[in-house]
């Protein structure tokens, strides 16, 4: 199992533990990272994207690795299913925003926020697994 795949599994499991402890911001963070790490797993392990090339490309961009990874996986997913691309191109940035708010904004998140983020992460992971076996 690749590092990123294992990290993704651990992140989602961590999210499930954190939500039980009522640590909802951290739950959102881990849920989101479960998806981001799985995207990295697909890019590097399934699609054989060169890691050095990826990070070199990130260096040339103003908005970082998350946006770039999201964009790359979207383009790959569109080759497989436009319907799923339509869904993911909206949901993944939503999740990214939710994670930024959870980490950096001084607002309290609810149990629903935590549980919803786990559900969303699980749905995204299932969709990606379906298309990138």
């Amino acid at each position: 199992m690749s590092n990123f795949q294992e990290k993704s599994i651990q992140s989602l499991e961590s999210a499930k533990v954190l939500v039980k402890c009522h640590y909802y911001s951290s739950t959102v963070n881990r849920s989101y990272y479960a998806c981001f790490q799985f995207v990295m797993h697909i890019l590097f392990d399934k699609l054989k994207k060169d890691q050095r090339e990826f990070y070199a490309e990130v260096q040339q961009r103003p908005n970082g690795s998350h946006s770039w990874a999201s964009k790359l996986i979207g383009i790959e997913l569109a080759k497989k299913s436009l319907e799923d691309y339509k869904w993911l191109q909206g949901k993944f940035p939503e999740f990214r925003e939710k994670r930024i708010v959870a980490d950096y904004h001084p607002i309290a998140l609810s149990a629903d926020d935590g549980n919803d983020s786990i559900t969303l992460a699980t749905t995204i992971l299932n969709l990606l697994r379906k298309h990138f076996k």
Binding site: Q60, R61, N63, K71, A78, L82, K86, G90, E94, E97
Partner: protein
């Protein structure tokens, strides 16, 4: 061509092809992405022809502008536009007969209420409803501020049954300006 110009040019073509669709463009600085909002949700969710217009545009944008990201959303998204930079067919979506009819149904339970009264909490308001409320200049916010567990649905709208107990209404100043 700059990303915004590209989007404006291509979205104009889509807007002409789909005159019932309201298209709004803006930027979300939190996730650093261009946001295109397509309304109403029913069109965005179900109109396959519309899909075939915007999805290729989305992909073309992603590949043409490597440093930019565009996200297409509708009223069900939690993403928001910081400020609308341009829009097409702004008035068209609100002229649908069904929307008017449904809105009248929503208003009917409130026929005897003073719409200037501020309800206690915003427990639920559908996004379609919110859009319409904003278009109506604020008075309809009062309609959305309803406290109950019972949900009603009329077409695109979902709202909660009004609480008739006056104790649930506050007499304090509203949080937002009500329509004159």
């Amino acid at each position: 061509m700059a990303p915004v110009e590209f989007l404006k040019e291509r979205l104009r073509v889509i807007a002409e092809k789909f005159p019932n669709v309201h298209i709004r463009y803006g930027y979300n600085h939190l996730i650093e992405a261009h946001i295109v909002e397509i309304l109403p949700l029913s069109e965005f969710a179900n109109n396959k022809e519309l899909d075939h217009a915007w999805i290729p545009l989305s992909l073309e944008f992603m590949q043409s502008f490597r440093n930019e990201e565009v996200v297409f959303i509708s009223s069900d998204s939690t993403l928001s536009i910081d400020a609308i930079i341009f829009e097409f067919n702004a008035t068209q979506v609100y002229k649908e007969g069904s929307v008017e009819e449904n809105w009248n149904k929503i208003l009917s339970p409130f026929a005897n209420l003073d719409l200037g009264t501020q309800f206690s909490t915003t427990s639920f308001i559908s996004l379609d409803c919110k859009e319409y409320a904003e278009k109506a200049g604020g008075i309809l916010h009062g309609i959305g501020l309803i406290n109950s567990n019972i949900l009603y649905s009329f077409g695109n709208f979902i709202f909660e049954e009004p609480v008739t107990n006056e104790e649930t209404f506050t007499s304090t100043e509203p949080d937002f300006p009500m329509a004159a």
